[in-house]
């Protein structure tokens, strides 16, 4: 018997998922990556097992993914986060779709066909705009706790346009808005809108849409805004931030001949 473990070492957070022999999720964790990816992977791994009654005779199969995927010494294999997100997304949404993943360091648009095969992908250009890091930076500038962004955006009464591509220029633009007495809630909604626009620029986003990533996990209002922009419903998997880790664990499951229940 095996435990199948996926570890997604992202730029902001490290996520781990443990599957049992029937590919059922039995443990998971999310921690901050910090500067030591190896330590983060180890910590996330241990935390994911915290509530698992481990069978000592069980073996383990580990696949790591994410920016720090090569910093996981106990991983048997590595896979890119693109493949793992596609895998994790299709696990819950078994139809052709486009996945939008908004992570800490990058945004990804991944096309998946009816059989779960990846047919194409795009990543944001080398810039923080349109990523979780952008929201973190702006929250930091405004001295707002990141967890409060969703609630503030929901209370917005006006649409504020934030036009800049660049995080630094955006900060200047926000200062201007503050000087103009624009409400904080409206500015935050404007920032959400700016991140959404960056994703919309990457692809026409036709067909079914799934969203994942930390920004999606903590900001349901962000998804609602996306739905309004696209004029269609968006599917969000049960653990949006753990989509890559789940995909890695599912790959681990398959490498041992596992078939999904």
């Amino acid at each position: 018997m095996y435990y199948f473990i996926g570890i997604d070492v992202g730029a902001s957070t490290t996520k781990a998922i443990v599957l049992d022999n029937k590919s059922k999720i039995i443990g998971h964790s999310v921690i901050h990556s910090g500067a030591d990816f190896e330590a983060a992977a180890d910590k996330a791994y241990k935390k994911a097992f915290k509530d698992v009654e481990r069978e000592s005779q069980n073996k383990e199969r580990v696949i790591s993914t994410g920016y720090g995927r090569r910093n996981v010494p106990f991983a048997d294999l590595t896979k890119t986060e693109i493949s793992c997100h596609a895998k994790g997304s299709y696990h819950y949404y078994r139809r052709a779709h486009t996945l939008i993943d908004i992570g800490g360091q990058d945004s990804k648009i991944i096309k998946i066909d009816n059989s779960g095969k990846r047919t194409g992908f795009k990543m944001n250009r080398k810039c923080a705009a349109g990523t979780g890091a952008f929201l973190e930076e702006i929250a930091n500038r405004l001295k707002i706790e990141i967890e409060k962004l969703n609630g503030l955006a929901e209370k917005a009464t006006k649409n504020v346009t934030i036009g800049s591509y660049c995080t630094v220029f955006t900060a200047t633009e926000i200062l201007t808005k503050i000087r103009q007495n624009v409400r904080e809630e409206d500015i935050i909604k404007g920032i959400f809108d700016s991140v959404i626009k960056r994703a919309l620029e990457m692809d026409p986003l036709e067909g079914n849409i799934v969203m994942s990533g930390g920004v999606v996990a903590y900001n349901p209002y962000f998804v609602k805004m996306c739905e309004q922009k696209l004029g269609k419903e968006i599917f969000v998997p049960p653990f949006p931030q753990l989509t890559g880790a789940l995909g890695a664990a599912l790959f681990a499951f398959e490498t041992k001949g596992g078939k999904h229940a």
Binding site: R69, R70, T78, T80, I82, S83, R118, T119, F121, K126
Partner: protein
């Protein structure tokens, strides 16, 4: 994890021969400057070199120097110096790194070749804008700085079909350079010499084409990354016996590799096209990375750009005008797409890799929807990576490698 083990790049034996002829070339230029004879002309890499050689000039190519600055990863030291005098970080990083190196009075030539203290200063600067406008700006800077004349040819851009009108105009411009060049060279134009040099250039270019086409074989014997190094003689020594002899040697070696089924990537699983400029400072790193992914990058627009099929010593001016006008960079999107389609068929390629070079819009063909159109038309995937020819500040190694690795995973899942 697999890519962390540095896989060995198979050495091309002819490299020693190439180093020798490149050293001879630079020493000859250095000697000419020190002795004041023969005269030295600087020329853009697809400029009218054959005319200059026929007039007795030794020809130096600043773009080759730019590539050296990139490959030695010295460019980042020099680009800010050019930025500081008003040359934007968004324009050609060959220009900015070369100008910056000149301002700082440094060159990789003096590190590579004992006794060479600087680049060979020109008596004349000759450009062709068939590549871009930046070459003209680049030469204009030196023209003012060194008080040396800059002469040039202005080429049409985005051409679909090449007409006689285009060629007559370009041929006229080439001829128009002669009186001034004769004056500077101190030699009269000699049609027989011109035909002879053009004939040698043709021989060189045909051998280079054969070298590139050895990659039609599976496994492909030479990677794009090695090709970018071994094309140096086709750039700076075309029009000479030396270049012809070199490509005979290289071709023989590659044909032996083909016979022995020895590939640049021995366990070659996928074959890709590289569209755009090389990332000079990352050649080795990327070569090793692709080997670790069992993926061979084996055909490219860049290396094909020194194939000049139209050179004809019997009609030198018009054929030279055609050869330097029909190159990929001068052509419209329809031509470029057809061209890449032919390459995909010819080399049996599985995917297209576009390099979006931040400072080189003319060599970044992903910007007007071409990858998406080709994916639909050819049914093979395309990937765009962001980077630059020389300015490594524009290149995110982790992001580029994740993209490439994910692209190969996509090919594996087909």
């Amino acid at each position: 994890m697999s890519e962390e083990k540095k896989p060995a790049i198979k050495k091309i034996q002819a490299t020693g021969h190439m180093r020798k002829i490149m050293a001879d070339y630079f020493y000859e230029l250095d000697r000419a400057v020190k002795e004041g004879s023969p005269k030295v002309a600087w020329c853009t890499s697809v400029g009218p070199a054959e005319l200059l050689l026929s007039l007795g000039f030794l020809v130096y190519y600043p773009e080759n120097h730019g590539a050296m600055l990139g490959a030695t990863r010295l460019a980042s030291n020099y680009i800010p110096l050019a930025n500081a005098i008003g040359y934007s970080p968004d324009i050609c990083s060959y220009l900015t790194s070369d100008v910056g190196a000149f301002i700082k009075k440094e060159t990789p030539l003096s590190r590579a070749y004992e006794g060479i203290e600087g680049i060979p200063l020109p008596d004349v600067l000759v450009y062709n804008t068939n590549q871009c406008r930046d070459v003209q700006d680049w030469f204009s800077w030196y023209s003012k700085e060194l008080n040396v004349p800059a002469l040039g040819i202005s080429t049409y851009r985005n051409i679909g079909n090449i007409t006689d009108d285009h060629l007559i105009s370009i041929a006229k411009q080439i001829k128009g350079l002669i009186p001034r060049l004769e004056e500077i060279a101190g030699n009269k134009f000699d049609m027989d010499k011109f035909r002879h040099v053009l004939g040698l250039s043709y021989e060189c270019t045909q051998l280079w084409k054969k070298v590139l086409e050895t990659n039609k074989n599976i496994p492909a014997p030479i990677s794009f990354f090695d090709e970018t190094i071994h094309m140096a003689p086709a750039v700076v020594l075309r029009g000479t016996e030396t270049a012809v002899e070199y490509y005979e040697v290289l071709l023989q070696e590659l044909e032996e590799r083909v016979a022995q089924k020895e590939g640049a990537v021995q366990e070659e699983e996928f074959r890709l096209y590289w569209e755009g400029m090389p990332i000079w400072g990352k050649l080795r790193d990327l070569a090793e990375f692709f080997i670790s992914l069992k993926t061979a990058v084996i055909a490219s627009t860049y290396c094909n750009s020194w194939i000049f099929d139209s050179f004809d010593p019997d009609d030198p001016f018009m054929s030279m005008a055609r050869a330097y006008t029909e190159i990929f960079i001068v052509r419209d999107e329809n031509f470029k797409e057809r061209y890449i389609e032919e390459m995909v068929d010819m080399y049996g390629l599985n995917g297209l890799l576009f390099h979006d070079a931040k400072t080189c819009p003319n060599n970044s063909n992903n910007r007007y929807g071409m990858p998406e159109r080709l994916e639909k038309k050819l049914g093979i995937p395309a990937l765009t990576i962001n980077g630059d020819l020389n300015d490594l500040r524009c290149y995110s190694e982790e992001q580029a490698k994740t993209n490439i690795e994910a692209f190969v995973e996509q090919l594996e899942s087909k």
